[in-house]
Amino acid sequence: MNDAQAAALSPETVLRHMKDNGVTDVVWLPDSETNWLYLLMQAESSLRLVGVSREGHACSIAAGLFAGGRKPLILIQNTGMMESGDSIRGWLLGLNVPVVLMVGYRGWTRHGVTTDTAATYTERFLMAFGLNYYLVESDADASRITVAFEEAARTQRPVVVLVGDEYHGFNR
């Protein structure tokens, strides 16, 4: 394993946290770099994958799954999260759904010189909606995924994990 791989967030780590936290269903819309995670999730018999064509659908589906006794995870990109504002408001916050949203942080640069407006507005959007969030960039800080699950369960609110490793972590 080289330094770049060591610093990455591996799809195996993400999957392990999903399983450790009892996720039953992943409601998702793929972004450009999640193919390896997709292959792992597809091979994991304990997970049901529910693919959507627009991210807002993931919110209402997750609400229904939760109402029926399941533990969904939403896996989308920041662009789609912003598109989903009203669904987050109505279906997740409005129904007190304790779901974790793993959100690909497109445009995240770590150094503040952001040229992608998807990144510019991501954290502002989360603050506007009062959604708490944790940034995960590598396996070293992946434990924050579990922190997010614990917080969602404790507060009965959605909690976001921003995946700041979009450009190489999932895509070996």
Binding site: V27, C59, I61, A63, A67, G69
Partner: protein, 192 residues
């Protein structure tokens, strides 16, 4: 065309132990239901999401029928959900559509291309294995038992009269006797 309440009356004897997501039909269903704790009247958390919610519920509870009364305004906002439902193939999912051709809760303005949309054909094109369309209550009453006795997913488009609400929202009768929190709490206790 038929009245929404008539369509719900036709459904009522065939309900069995189904979970009912009444959607825009909630204000009529609340006066008809005999099993309130198995109803999930959420009002309108965010427009376009009823089908997604009902799909999630159906996937979570595969041994119970889930019956949704969606609207054409909602489904037009979320046409892509039809492909997700078709891909998941929930055998317990019964997707009724109340098509009044207007946005009734905002004063009755027409939905786009209101009179020329074949929602049943859209559902079939998205991959639903079965779909029906009814304009007359007699036809629905005759067929609904058979539709509900076969596996889903199935899409049933119903042409209903527009029953337009023109009062300001804050002055309308609150038909839902339970809060959303109470609805979900009742549902969870019923599913135990």
């Amino acid at each position: 065309m038929m009245r929404i309440a008539e369509a719900l009356e036709a459904f009522k004897p065939h309900r069995g132990d189904a979970l009912v997501v009444p959607g825009r039909g909630g204000r009529y269903w609340v006066d008809l239901t005999t099993d309130q704790k198995m109803d999930v009247p959420l009002g309108d958390p965010a427009m376009g999401g009823h089908a997604g919610f009902a799909l999630g519920l159906a996937l979570a509870q595969p041994n119970r029928r889930v019956v949704l009364f969606d609207s054409e305004g909602d489904i037009l906002m979320s046409l892509g959900i039809l492909t997700t439902i078709a891909e998941q193939v929930p055998a317990n999912f019964y997707h009724f559509l109340l098509d009044n051709e207007v946005y009734a809760t905002t004063g009755g303005q027409p939905v786009p291309n209101a009179k020329n949309v074949a929602y049943d054909k859209m559902a079939l094109a998205a991959g639903y294995p079965r779909a029906h369309a009814f304009e007359e209550i007699g036809d629905l009453s005759r067929e609904i038992g058979g539709i509900l006795s076969r596996p889903g997913p199935v899409f049933v488009a119903l042409k209903v009269y527009p029953e337009v609400e023109n009062q300001p929202i804050g002055q309308r009768r609150r038909w839902n006797t339970r809060s959303r929190d109470q609805v979900l709490a009742d549902l969870k206790s019923s599913l135990r």
